[in-house]
C-alpha cells in the first residue's frame, strides 16, 4: 500500500522544537527546592574501600549529604531486584551495595548539594582509602580462559551443519585470519541524567534519559520495593543513546535514593568522563577459516568469536549468526566464547554483534575472494543465500541483488580492477571496497491507544522513545494515513511510562512493533468512523463496507463514487460529544514465524590513501538498502547516513583503550576518544531499493537504525586493502598501521 501519508519525505514533526531550543531533555527539567548530586567514582579497578571520609565535603556550607555504602539506607538487594529488561544473565551491579570495587570508575558515593558546582567540589573532597586487589583487564592474556556461558544473552550460536572439517581440508582455496574489534563507547552528546521527585503519598516522578521509560519504571519499582504504578517515568526527548540508554544507568538509582532520603527533588547529571564508566561495545576477536573451490564457490566456514564480558554478568551478542544469514554454504561451524575481565559489563551498542561480526566476516570473505581471484561482488553473487540457514527458513523478503545492482551502477563498480594498488591519483592510492550486511527486523509485542475527539483531532500514544530516530514523525504518519486525517491533526505521544506498553527502543524494532500497534489501533478508529458516518441522516455510505470507502483528508467517501462522502467531522457529530477511543495490543501473528525477517545492505566505498603519511580519506560511499517499505524517506535517509558516519568512526577512529596497569579506560573524553567530525565525512549516497514484504509485519517495514552501519567498516577496510595491498585486521585502521 502506498498511502497518502506514508512514503512521503515529511519533515520531523518535532523539528522546530529542536531548532529553537524548545525540546527538553532529561537534565533540563527542574523542580522546586531541587538539589544536585555529583557522583564519586572509584580510582581503582578492584578491591575494597577501607575507609571513606566524607567529613570535609559535609563541612561545606550547602552540602546536604554524602551517600556511601556505609550510610545508604537498606533496600532490597536481591539480584532479581536489579535486573532490567536488557540485563545479561548474571548478577547486576548494585550501586552503593557494599565496600567491594568491581571495576574502575565504579560509583562509590553521591555528594548532594544546593548547587551543581558545590556538589562537584564536595566530590573532590571525599577521601577514600582502598585495599587493592590484583585485577585482570587484559583481553589477549585471558583469551585462553574463554568460556561458553551457561546462558547466552544473545541467541545461542547455531549448531554446525554439513561436514565443515572435511570440507575445509579438501577446499582448493583456503584462508585463515583473525580479526579484532576494539571496545567502543556510545558517547551520545547528551549525558545520562535523572531527576527524581518524591510526591506526597509515596509516589515518585522521574525524568530520565532512557530508551524505554517502562524499563526505568520497572527497575525503580523492583529496586526500591515499590508498586510499579507509583513510579512515573518521563522522557520526551533523548539526546542520542545508540544503546547506552537500554539499561537504566546508575545515576537513576542514585537520584532516586537521594531524593527519597532527603525528601527533596534531586538531579544527577553525569560528566563525559563518567559516560565511560558503564557499558561499552565489547572488544571482540574473531577467528576465521574459510574454504572455496577454484571458481569461488564457498565450501566451508568456521567462525569462532571471543567477546569481552564482565566478571559479574555474561554479556553476549549475535556475532556468529552472519555466515548462516549472508551466505549459502553447506558446511558451517561457529562458536562464541566469552572473556571475563574486571570491567563493567558491556552494553548493546548500535547493531550489537552485527557491527563486529559482519566486519570480520566481510573482510575474511574479501580475502577469500582475492585468493580465488574472483571479484568480491561476484563472489557474493555466487554464494547468495536464498534462505536463513541458521533457522532453516526463507526470508520474509530479500532484495539484496537489487542493492548490488543499483549500488554498483551508481558507484561505477564495473570499472574496478581486481589488482590491489592498481589505481592512483597523484600521491594517493585509490581503493574500492565492497561489503554486505543484514539486520533482523523483529516485531515485538507493543500496545497503543488512539483518541479521536469530536473536533477531528487524533492523539495516538505508546510508551516508546524517540532517540533521534524519528518515532514521533513516522508514527504520526502511520496514524494520519490509516485514519485518513491530515498530518497536522495528529499528535503522537511517547516517553511516558503511563502510556500503553512498549518494548525498549532499540534493535531497529520500533517501526515494526510500535508501528504495527499504531496501525492496528487506527484501523479500529477507522471502523468506528464508518459506523458513525452511516448513522448520519441519509448517509450515502449506509450500505458501504470498509473496503468500499476511502478515508482521506478528513473525508469518508465511496471509492467508486467519490462525490458520495461524509466528512469526519459530520460523522463525529453522531457520537454525541464523545470521543472515539480505542486500545490495542499487537504481536506477531502466527504466519510470520515461518519466515526469517532481515533488512539487507550493500556498501561500496572509495578511499584515498596517502602512502607517505598513512592518512585515509573515505571519499565516496554508496549504501544501497533493502529495508522493506520506507515510511518516511527523509528520516530513513538520515538514519542510514548516520549509520555510515558511525561505520567511518568504527573503521578509522573509535577505540576505547584499556590501560592494563591501571585497569582503566585511558581515553575517556572526546579529545582522545575520536568520533567522526564534519571533516571526516564526504560523499555519501543512500539508495532504498523497492522491497515488498507481506510477511514481516502488517506495515511491511523493517526498521533502519542498524542496517546502515553494519557493512560500512568492512567495506572501508576492504577498500584500504585494494588501495594499498595491506590487510589490516584490527580496527580502527589508524595511520600507524598503514605505514
Amino acid at each position: 500500500m502506498i498511502g497518502n501519508q506514508t512514503g512521503k519525505p515529511v519533515n520531523r514533526v518535532d523539528g522546530r522544537l529542536k531548532v529553537t531550543g524548545g525540546a527538553k531533555y532529561a537534565a533540563e527539567f527542574t523542580a522546586p527546592n531541587m538539589a544536585y548530586g555529583f557522583v564519586v567514582n572509584s580510582k581503582i579497578a578492584k578491591g575494597k574501600i577501607k575507609s571513606i571520609d566524607t567529613s570535609k565535603a559535609l563541612a561545606l556550607d550547602g552540602v546536604l549529604e554524602v551517600f556511601t555504602h556505609e550510610n545508604r539506607p537498606g533496600y532490597v538487594w536481591g539480584d532479581k531486584n536489579y535486573q532490567d529488561k536488557d540485563s545479561p544473565p548474571g548478577s547486576p551491579f548494585r550501586p552503593l551495595y557494599d565496600n567491594e570495587v568491581q571495576f574502575s570508575m565504579q560509583p562509590i558515593a553521591l555528594v548532594v548539594a544546593e548547587t551543581y558546582e558545590l556538589a562537584r567540589y564536595g566530590a573532590i573532597l571525599v577521601e577514600v582509602e582502598y585495599e587493592n586487589y590484583s585485577f585482570d583487564t587484559d583481553f589477549e592474556k585471558n583469551i585462553k580462559q574463554a568460556y561458553i556461558p551457561e546462558k547466552y544473552k544473545s541467541s545461542k550460536p547455531p549448531e554446525p551443519w554439513g561436514n565443515p572439517d572435511e570440507a575445509l581440508a579438501n577446499a582448493a582455496v583456503k584462508i585463515e585470519a583473525e580479526y579484532s574489534h576494539p571496545s567502543e563507547h556510545h558517547n551520545p552528546i547528551e549525558m545520562h541524567a535523572s531527576l527524581a521527585i518524591w510526591e506526597e503519598g509515596g509516589k515518585l516522578t522521574v525524568y530520565d534519559k532512557i530508551q524505554g521509560v517502562q524499563n526505568s519504571q520497572q527497575y525503580i519499582a523492583n529496586a526500591f520495593g515499590m508498586q510499579q504504578e507509583d513510579v512515573h517515568v518521563i522522557s520526551p526527548f533523548v539526546g542520542g543513546a545508540f544503546g547506552s540508554g537500554l539499561r537504566p544507568q546508575y545515576q537513576l538509582f542514585l537520584a532516586v535514593l537521594a531524593a527519597r532520603e532527603l525528601k527533596r527533588p534531586v538531579k544527577v547529571v553525569l560528566t563525559r568522563q563518567q559516560m565511560f564508566s558503564f557499558g561499552h561495545r565489547p572488544k571482540t576477536v574473531q577467528k576465521f577459516a574459510l574454504g572455496a573451490d577454484t571458481d569461488g564457490k564457498l565450501k566451508a566456514v568456521q567462525h569462532d568469536a571471543f567477546g569481552e564480558t564482565s566478571k559479574f554478568e555474561d554479556y553476549s551478542e549475535n556475532v556468529v549468526i552472519w555466515p548462516g544469514v549472508l551466505y549459502n554454504c553447506d558446511n558451517v561451524k561457529v562458536s562464541h566464547k566469552l572473556v571475563a575481565l574486571d570491567v563493567y559489563t558491556p552494553l548493546d551498542m548500535r547493531a550489537p554483534g552485527g557491527t563486529t561480526g559482519i566486519y570480520g566476516l566481510e573482510c575474511a570473505i574479501d580475502e577469500l575472494a582475492y585468493k580465488a581471484g574472483v571479484d568480491p561482488l561476484e563472489f557474493r553473487k555466487m554464494n547468495y543465500s536464498e534462505k536463513d540457514q541458521n533457522e532453516g527458513k526463507p526470508f520474509s523478503s530479500k532484495e539484496l541483488r537489487e542493492c548490488y545492482r543499483q549500488g554498483a551502477e551508481k558507484f561505477g563498480w564495473e570499472k574496478r580492477s581486481l589488482e590491489p594498488r592498481s589505481m592512483k591519483e597523484g600521491h594517493n592510492l585509490i581503493g574500492w571496497g565492497f561489503a554486505q550486511g543484514a539486520w533482523e527486523a523483529t516485531q515485538k509485542q507493543a500496545a497503543a491507544k488512539a483518541v479521536l475527539t469530536t473536533d477531528g483531532k487524533l492523539t495516538v500514544s505508546c510508551a516508546t522513545a524517540d532517540i533521534g530516530t524519528g518515532t514521533y514523525t513516522v508514527m504520526s504518519q502511520i496514524a494520519a494515513e490509516t485514519v485518513g486525517l491530515p498530518l497536522e491533526d495528529v499528535t503522537f505521544k511517547l516517553g511516558d511510562s503511563s502510556l500503553p506498553k512498549s518494548p525498549l527502543q532499540g534493535g531497529s524494532w520500533t517501526v515494526s512493533s510500535v508501528g504495527s500497534a499504531v496501525k492496528l489501533v487506527c484501523d479500529k478508529v477507522r471502523e468506528k468512523l464508518l459506523q458513525l458516518a452511516q448513522q448520519v441522516a441519509n448517509s450515502p455510505l449506509a450500505n458501504a463496507t470498509l473496503d468500499d470507502v476511502n478515508i482521506e483528508d478528513g473525508k469518508i467517501s465511496l471509492k467508486n463514487d467519490p462525490a458520495k462522502a461524509v466528512t469526519i467531522k459530520e460523522a463525529l457529530v453522531q457520537s454525541q460529544g464523545k470521543s472515539i477511543e480505542e486500545n490495542v495490543s499487537s504481536e506477531p501473528v502466527e504466519g510470520q514465524q515461518k519466515y526469517s525477517p532481515y533488512a539487507h545492505s550493500a556498501t561500496f566505498v572509495e578511499v584515498k590513501v596517502d602512502e607517505d603519511l598513512g592518512t585515509v580519506k573515505v571519499t565516496r560511499v554508496v549504501s544501497a538498502i533493502a529495508g522493506g517499505r520506507i515510511i518516511n524517506p527523509k528520516t530513513a535517509r538520515s538514519q542510514i547516513l548516520g549509520g555510515v558516519v558511525w561505520g567511518i568512526g568504527a573503521a578509522m577512529e573509535e577505540e576505547t583503550v584499556m590501560d592494563n596497569n591501571l585497569g582503566r579506560f585511558m581515553n575517556h573524553d572526546l579529545d582522545k576518544y575520536h568520533v567522526p567530525v564534519n571533516a571526516d565525512v564526504h560523499d555519501i549516497e543512500v539508495i532504498f531499493v523497492e522491497e515488498k514484504d507481506d510477511h514481516v509485519n502488517p506495515l511491511g517495514a523493517k526498521g533502519l537504525g542498524e542496517i546502515g552501519i553494519v557493512s560500512v567498516a568492512p567495506a572501508i577496510a576492504n577498500a584500504i586493502f585494494h588501495a594499498t595491498g595491506k590487510r589490516v585486521r584490527e580496527l580502527p585502521i589508524t595511520l600507524d598501521k598503514l605505514l
Binding site: R16, N187, V238
Partner: protein, 153 residues
C-alpha cells in the same frame, strides 16, 4: 559568591554565583536557559556554543566573571519566533536527529554568516568542524548552512 548582571538575549539577568562558574551552568542551572547544551564541559564538542558580542564562544569554559557587559545570545534569543534564516534552513533541510547538538551547530553557523554572509563550501567546513554531532547529521548541516546563506539578506 558575587552577583552578576548579564545581558542575555536583550534582557538583563542576575545571577548569584562563584566568579569561576562557567557561563554554561549559569545559563542552564541559574537562569533556566536550557537550550544551550552540555556535551563535554571542556571545549571539545561545541554543544554549549553561544554568541558573545556576535562571536561563537564555548560557554562551558567561559567563566561568568569574564562576561562583563558583553552581549550574550543563546538559541532562545537568536530570533523572536524561531525564524532566523539559519533556523528556517535547519527546519527546511530537516537537519536534526536527536537534536541535542543542534543549538550549538546553529549558533556556530549563524556566527559564521554574521561575519561571512556568503561562505564557500570550504569556509563552511572550516567553521563547522568543531561541532560534534554523534547522530552524524553532517551532510545536512552543510546543506543547511549553504541554504541559510541564500536566505540571509
Amino acid at each position: 559568591m558575587a552577583t552578576y548582571k548579564l545581558q542575555i538575549n536583550g534582557r538583563t539577568y542576575e545571577a548569584d554565583v562563584e566568579p569561576d562558574t562557567p557561563l554554561l551552568w549559569v545559563l542552564r542551572d541559574n537562569l533556566g536557559l536550557v537550550g544551550t547544551k552540555f556535551g563535554c564541559g571542556i571545549a571539545q564538542c561545541g554543544a554549549c556554543t553561544v554568541h558573545v558580542n556576535g562571536n561563537a564562544m564555548r560557554s562551558c569554559v567561559y567563566p561568568v566573571s569574564a562576561v562583563g557587559n558583553s552581549k550574550i545570545t543563546t538559541i532562545e534569543g537568536l530570533s523572536a519566533d524561531g525564524d532566523h534564516p539559519v533556523q528556517l534552513a535547519w527546519d527546511e533541510v530537516d537537519v536534526a536527529q536527536c537534536g541535542y547538538c543542534q543549538a550549538g551547530q546553529i549558533m556556530t553557523a549563524s556566527a559564521l554568516l554574521n561575519r561571512n554572509p556568503k561562505p564557500s563550501a570550504e569556509e563552511i567546513d572550516n567553521a563547522m568542524h568543531g561541532n560534534i554531532c554523534r547522530c552524524g547529521t553532517y551532510h545536512r548541516i552543510r546543506e543547511a548552512v549553504a541554504l541559510a546563506a541564500t536566505k540571509t539578506k
